[in-house]
């Protein structure tokens, strides 16, 4: 029993150590409103993110939405949202509603909205990388396609 406890403890320790490495520095602007967690990439960066910043401004006013992250690769935009706990039951509907609204407002952009936690984590990391100028245009496009594939993955 003591041996088992030792193994479990060492695995947990290893997991924490793994989780602590490879973190990106955060230089983005964060919202002053304590109820909303919305980040904005400070312009200029090597890859233009002004379109996403404009979109975030629109989504910010939604009551149900608490956190927003987003990136754009050209006019292809990925937006990840997190909704209030009570709205988790119909987050897919909220997601669709926001997508429709944004598409109406920005008809030239190709917008993808997701409320999935995984997409949120990925885009959050990507935002930091863009802010720190640590990702090229080609890599961003590749990453964009990867995330889009994850959104479409139904399995």
């Amino acid at each position: 029993m003591k041996n088992l406890l030792n193994i479990i403890l060492s695995v947990l320790l290893l997991l924490t150590l793994v989780a602590c490495t490879g973190k990106e520095d955060d230089h983005r602007i964060t919202q002053t409103d304590p109820k909303k967690d919305i980040t904005k990439i400070i312009i200029p960066t090597s890859i233009d993110q002004s379109l996403t910043n404009k979109l975030k401004e629109t989504v910010k006013d939604k009551d149900e939405v608490t956190r927003v992250r987003g990136i754009n690769s050209g006019s292809d935009i990925l937006l990840a949202i997190e909704v209030k706990q009570i709205n988790q039951f119909n987050e897919q509907e909220i997601e669709k509603k926001i997508k429709k609204e944004l598409e109406k407002k920005y008809p030239e952009a190709n917008i993808e909205v997701s409320s999935d936690k995984k997409i949120f984590i990925e885009i959050d990391e990507l935002e930091k990388k863009i802010q720190n100028n640590r990702i090229g245009k080609k890599d961003l496009e590749k990453k964009y396609n990867e995330i889009k594939k994850l959104i479409k993955d139904q399995a």
Partner: protein, 159 residues
Amino acid sequence: MSNNRKKNLTSIQQQYQTFAKDREKKRPVFKNCIKAFFVGGFICTIGQAITTFYMYFFDFTEQTAGNPTVATLIFITMLLTGFGVYDHFAQFAGAGTAVPVTGFGNAVISAAIEHRTEGFVLGVGGNMFKLAGSVILFGVFSAFVIALIKTILIQWGGL
């Protein structure tokens, strides 16, 4: 015992029934519920942690991370049952350990262990799904019925 049968008993038998009923240990239903609530909740917390782990370190989304999570939980339960640890949890928490998916793993392995002496094919193989088989059958059958209803609604209901 039904009232009808009670009437047929002699007065001494009836007396004995009430005597036994008074001395019977009452089932602590509320306490059991509380225990099941907390232990079941704890198992679900572990499940949530595993889901988060799969999302952070692998390419699983919130929707797809459910499959490996269930597999991992069942695997852990199977090991714990084999080592004889899970029985103690189950004795303490009752439904708290049976209702989450861990109960399924426990049902499979405990049946396999029980019939181990009858041989691998007729014993373990034949009896492994004695308890859990009904769960699988019910799951598959109800999924089939729901799919049928959905198909009918979409095809003819215009949903």
